[in-house]
């Protein structure tokens, strides 16, 4: 048992943090709701109680996976670029504009639209990277500011030039059918973009753990000075990892537009860029763990929506819970004394055995 704890300590620590988060949400529901039993049931079981909600959970996870992968690539190199939100928004807006104003067969249209969106995301994501690499400007502040700029630019593009005035509310024109990602299970919104997010997770995993550049990214994050003296072109890595971040975020945003809404309808930023930060931290920047973390977050999200709909507890509770979990996970010393005690006990036992 104790050996098991030592071996999987980080995983256990993460799970305990998640469990504490769930305990807090249960207590919050009991504190706030007039009918806590029912609210609790809607929150915890809600996502599984109907077919549509279950598929809703999978749909919700997809853009979070994209953004989690995006953030993870930057975080692996210890670049705190949190610009996934802006890259996603601007990428999807420009991609939509391109899709709406061009006509071509689907086999050309889909990849081209995705290419435009990822290109815009990559360019936008690499700006803080270039500022950091060249002038040592804080990529955190730069990417935060650029998130706002991207939001206003995207909004301007859609509302002033591609707004569908017949729609009755502020949305873009509908994408031509040739740019739709097909939905493949009837009566659900499961689309190819969701599978694309899984494929991307595997690709990012192979990239980070089985290519030279991926190794260099991880080395830079592990110890930048060491990496530099080891002959790694750190400047290139700093830009590259943030470029890939923007690329993945742009792809995620566009896939969402092409697969689900078929229009650009975000008048405020959808928030997946920040969810990406959450799942990257929970999944310890590992692409495959990020998938699991994204499903967990999607579960909380859908549960929160059901809760909001069926009871008197606002869905912002989920925001509170998810960031409490993050706070606990980032606290390195959280539970470390427990681990230390086990290590001492193990050592003593070894001593006795001798």
């Amino acid at each position: 048992m104790e050996k098991f704890v030592l071996k999987y300590f980080t995983l256990i620590r993460t799970l305990i943090a998640v469990a504490i988060g769930l305990v807090i949400s249960v207590s919050l529901i009991y504190l706030v709701s007039k009918d806590p039993g029912y609210s609790l049931q809607s929150f915890l079981l809600g996502p599984f109680l109907s077919r549509s909600r279950f598929f809703n959970l999978i749909e919700t996870a997809s853009p979070v996976i994209f953004c989690g992968l995006a953030i993870a690539v930057a975080f692996q190199a210890r670049q705190f670029n949190v610009g996934a939100e802006g890259c996603l928004y601007l990428g999807a807006a420009v991609g939509t504009a391109f899709a709406v104003s061009t006509r071509m067969p689907a086999f050309l249209h889909i990849p081209l639209v995705l290419l435009v969106a990822t290109g815009v995301g990559a360019i936008w994501g690499s700006i803080p990277g270039i500022l950091k690499a060249r002038w040592n400007a804080s990529e955190l502040v730069a990417s935060l500011m650029l998130n706002y700029v991207a939001y206003f630019l995207g909004l301007y593009l859609i509302n002033f030039h591609f707004r569908d005035k017949q729609a009755g509310y502020l949305v873009s024109y509908q994408l031509p059918q040739s740019a739709w990602l097909a939905q493949f299970i009837p009566d659900t919104r499961m689309h190819w973009g969701i599978l694309l997010s899984f494929v991307c997770a595997v690709l990012v995993w192979m990239f980070l753990y089985h290519t030279t550049t991926g190794y260099e990214i991880r080395m830079t994050g592990f110890n930048e000075r060491f990496a530099r003296f080891g002959g790694i072109n750190v400047v290139r890595i700093i830009v590259a990892c943030q470029l890939i971040m923007g690329l993945l975020a742009g792809l995620g945003g566009m896939a969402e537009v092409m697969g689900i809404h078929r229009r650009f309808l975000w008048q405020s930023t959808p928030g997946w860029g920040w969810d990406g930060v959450v799942v990257a931290i929970i999944g310890r920047n590992h692409p495959l763990l990020i998938i699991a973390a994204s499903f967990f977050l999607a579960y909380l999200r859908v549960g929160g929506q059901v809760l909001n709909l069926m009871s008197d507890v606002p869905s912002e509770m989920v925001t509170v819970i998810q960031w409490i979990i993050i706070l606990l996970i980032t606290a390195e010393a959280f539970l470390s004394r427990w681990r230390f005690r086990i290590m001492v006990r193990q050592a003593e036992r070894l001593e006795e055995a001798r």
Binding site: V32, F80, V82, L131, R134, W135, N136, A137, S138, L140, V141, A142, L144, M145, L146, Y148, V149, F152, L153, L155, Y156, N159, F160, W274, V277, I281, P314, E316, M317, V318, T319, V320, Q322, W323, I324, I326, L327, T330, A331, E332, A333, F334
Partner: protein, 315 residues
Amino acid sequence: MSPLLKSILSEQFGYAIFRVMTPLLLPTIGVAISGLSGAVNIALEGTMLLSAFVGVIVSAFTQSLLLALLAGMAAGMAMAALLGYFHLKLKADIILAAIAMNWLASGTTIFLMFLITGDKGSTHSLKSLVFPALNIPLIHGIPVLGPILSGHNVLTYGAFLAVFLFWLITFKTPLGLRIRAVGQNLDAAASVGINVNRTRMWALLLSGFFGSLGGLYLAMGYVSWFGRDMVAGRGWIAVAAASLGNNLPLGTLLSSILFGVVNTLAIYLASVQLPSEFIQAIPYLTTTVALAIYSAQALRKRRRKIREPQAGGAP
């Protein structure tokens, strides 16, 4: 003269600069003082949000400005203390912990606002108070200068006092000396018996204090209600402004004035035939550009410092 130029050269414009820069100057001081200690508090976005919310709620239910002020300050400092606990005691990365705290503040305020008012957007339904405006007796009568400098909110004058207070703490108190020592060389400071963690905790608490005043002004002076995520990036602009000002009193004042002028200009430009989205993007874009220019200069200065002794050659 064009109408835009006319309105920019008016007294109202000068007045507006002070109004707009107050919620930037206070958090900038907050970031700067924590930055001096080496543990930069980038959770001021959330600190301001929480203080603004607590201030509005307390003032609405007690109808007491003093209680609202105290509660708001307590909330801001509690948030800083929590960040300090997680960073200094539980060894959390301060950047990630602060990002989490900012979002925690955003979620918590909306959650509680809904429970109290039944509204997720703003507290318009509550009768909350605002801090009074002050007319300064002598200056008020001076033409041109009077309307610009007089009649501001108490907290606007408080913000300028805060710059002085910041200078006083940093350069005239033992605590300030310790904060600077810890920030400059942690090991050296520890070796002469300074408790590094306690000093940083004090710096964080002070940053929470200044930040909370900024939040209070925003909801109880700048406007008279609390709205969801109403801080709108000011806490982050403060991070840029503080590094632009080298974390020093005069520097933070000057960089806050710069951002205040730009933000006021953006508001005044709304009268021009430009899409409002462009104008709203201006403050954030300027911050990015200013950050890049500042960083480039700081880097050049550092490189020159490294090169000079080499140019002199070995003795």
